[in-house]
Amino acid sequence: MKRNLLWRGLLILAVLVGAAAIAFPPQEKINLGLDLRGGMHLVLQVQTVDALKAETDSEMARLARIAEDEGVAGLRPRRTGDTTFEVAGLSPQAKDTLDQIADDSFAGAWEAREEGDRMVFTMTDQNSSQIRQLSVTQAVQTIRNRIDAFGVAEPVIQEMGEERILVQLPGVDDPERVRNLIKSTALLEFRIVRFPQGGGGGVPSREAILANYNNRLPEDLEILEGDVRDAEGRVTQKVYYAVDKRRDVTGRDLKTARPGLGQFNDPIVEFSLTPEGAQKFGALTGANTGQGLAIVLDNRVVSAPVIRSRITDSGIIEGNFTQQEVQDLSTVLRSGALPASLTYLEERTVGPSLGRDSIESGLLAGLIGTALVVLYMLIIYNLSGVNAVIALALNLLLLFGGLAAFGANLTLPGIAGIILTIGMAVDANVLVFERIREELHAGRTVRSAVDLGYEKALSSIIDSNVTTLVAALFLFQFGTGPIRGFAVTLTIGLLASMFTAVFVSRWLFDFVLSRRQVQRLSI
């Protein structure tokens, strides 16, 4: 019996030291959830249909270019759906050429079909699902690039099933800036302005544009809005341009973008293009000198300078920006355009002060609660209450150790869970002690009362704790961040309490009883 006592005692000591080592110092070892640390939690939906449309547009342009090389010029493909486009008015030779091109350059990704004098192209399912998946992965990467430039500690950016992205950024103090940074699709496009001639400052209303075209806007044009800003960068007016729908040169052709200073020392973005992009840009500007070149960002015209001569590989974007805007814009352009736009499904932002307050309140409630429970146990169980208190202390130590070991996040409900555990952990001890009292009453010796107490109470302890654990399990499965924190603390707390009540408490009794013959147990 003595040897057994020693081994068990050493085991308890080992567990104690282990837990202490893992859990101290708590400030470093225990992760705080977002609701306590402060930060942003976002769930974004990737509108993959944008990526599909963009791909269709791009392939349409590619078809037209290849066809031109093959001798079929002037093709005007028209997008008819998210993943379909058609080319109309084809002569038999043109159709043959297109057939050939389709086989050579579009096989596997597109299905081509002849319908009278038209050819209809449809994206294959394989291709579209690939593009959708790719756009989500790219979006994650793009957001990560942007956040990296922003400098957030331990960001979480990951795909979350069903084309969603989860973003968690602890310790963010300018949520607005982060939102803009993430949301900006940064879809950069260079388009030719057809009206007003030469681009410039645009016209003040859509009606003015429609008037120019006798209220029937040609099919290959669209009206885009632009902002006019004053010297401080505030928006003073909205203006409108009629631009080509065709977009040959986009942000994908950018090589770099960086902040710079313009003629008047105003903040601008300097960009340069890839070789292929430079080629396309040269062709675009060369064919349209005298027209306005609309620099379109996220479907808004930033500026529309007139093309004086062919431009190839670099340029600037200016528009009364502030230093910070130019910084963010460069970051965003460099990180690449988002392949698809994002919509917010859920946002939870907690300022750091709220988190601090919560921790303080939680600590206060916890301390007072613990003190009361300790008092309670001592009053009701006299010296055996000390046994229970020691078990409780070890219980809490194990709880913190468990939290640190699993890297679990401590959330506000989690703190409540810890406090709840304090109240409930006592239960296992109560079950045993009440049983011991009963046996003593029935006239048993101290030794056998203790043994019987533990033996008979065991099934109660296990059954009742298992049922609470079942609840905690479902909470974990179906819960989100803060609730999971609660489920975790509750589970670890209960498991720890089972260990301390059954093993540690028992050992303490055995230890005391082995020292001397006890006639009356203070319980």
Binding site: L345, E347, T349, G351, L354, A416, F478
Partner: protein, 336 residues
């Protein structure tokens, strides 16, 4: 200090009365949820935006409401939050333009236009319709599956009739606690669901302790009718029930008082839930177990108690008077 040793209270005697009391409580609960004014559903489930805004000076809530409503935001709910000196308000709006983002921007702009001095937004919770729907679904399944899981566990460890009794107690606890919760206008959100699941866990915990004792006593005295065994068991575990309930309530009272605004609804649910759960472990679970046994017999039960027809050929033991007294018969009948 010992309490409640060797009590011999006849708990089961007035169980009919207590069940009626419970039914009354459930009626009050249903009334308060559906009539008193709908359950105050948080943005987690209904979608919308909720912001905690701290003003430099005391804001005029009425005027704030007018300004925000004037900005085209439907039915804004504004209430003060936290201690008086902190000048904090909670602004809740339903979904605007069916998107999470639109709501937040509009409210922020409206606040700025309200011109009520400097303010800072301490926290924002914005939930779009899809997520709201999903959370509702998840919350429902979490509770439903929990109950099912416990029923199965108790069925396996004890017997079906005990499982039924425990689940009835749980359902009773949820309804009554929900009712009181609605009466006090606490907000029903994800954290609340967590609290309800905890209540379910505790209630079953409590019930199982009693059932465990019943099972032990049944094994010892095969002749005794179930109702007597139940009474004895409840008496024996009474001190444990009170003591554990007491310590947990003590701790929860601290949470309620000092824990801060954010956790108050949560603490309230568990506090009430424990009281109701303890009550139901004594006055709902055992009676329903008896009821189940009375109507569906002892089919498939491992341990037989009185109340079911014994197999033919076995000498029927002298039925103790208790089982067939008019009182118990009436009690069983009244449950219909």
């Amino acid at each position: 200090m010992e309490i409640l040793r060797d009590t011999n209270i006849d708990f089961m005697k007035y169980r009919k009365v207590w069940v009626l009391v419970s039914l009354a409580l459930i009626a009050v609960a249903i009334f308060s949820v559906f009539v008193h004014g709908q359950l105050n559903i948080g943005v987690d489930f209904a979608g919308g935006t909720q912001m905690t805004v701290k003003f430099q000076q005391r804001p005029d809530v009425q005027r704030l409401r007018e300004v925000i409503a004037g900005a085209g935001i439907p039915e804004p709910q504004i209430q003060t939050y936290g201690r008086e000196a902190e000048n904090q308000v909670l602004v809740k709006t339903r979904l605007i333009e069916g998107s999470a983002e639109g709501s937040r921007e509009r409210v922020e702009t409206a606040l700025r236009q309200a011109n009520m001095g400097e303010f800072s937004i301490l926290s924002v919770e914005s939930v779009g319709p899809q997520i709201g729907r999903e959370l509702r679904r998840q919350g429902f399944w979490a509770v439903a599956l929990s109950l099912l899981g416990m029923l199965v566990y108790i069925w396996l460890r004890f017997e079906l009739r005990f499982g039924i009794g425990a689940i009835m107690a749980c359902v009773h606890d949820i309804i009554v606690t929900l009712g009181l919760f609605a009466l006090f206008d606490f907000e029903f959100n994800l954290t609340t669901i967590a609290a309800f699941l905890t209540v379910v866990g505790y209630s079953v915990n409590d019930t199982v302790v009693i059932f465990d004792r019943i099972r032990e006593n049944m094994r010892k005295t095969r002749r005794e009718p179930l109702i007597d065994v139940m009474n004895k068991s409840i008496n024996q575990t009474l001190s444990r029930t009170i003591l554990t309930g007491g310590s947990t309530l003590l701790v929860l009272a601290c949470l309620l008082y000092w824990g801060g605004e954010a956790i108050r609804g949560f603490a309230f649910v568990i506090f009430i839930g424990i009281i109701v759960g303890t009550y139901s472990s004594i006055y709902i679970a055992p009676p329903f177990t008896l009821l189940w046994e009375r109507y569906f017999g002892n089919r498939g039960n491992k341990i037989r108690g009185q109340g079911a027809p014994l197999p033919a050929g076995g000498a029927a033991p002298a039925a103790p008077a208790r089982t067939e007294t008019p009182a118990t018969r009436r009690a069983g009948g009244a449950r219909r």
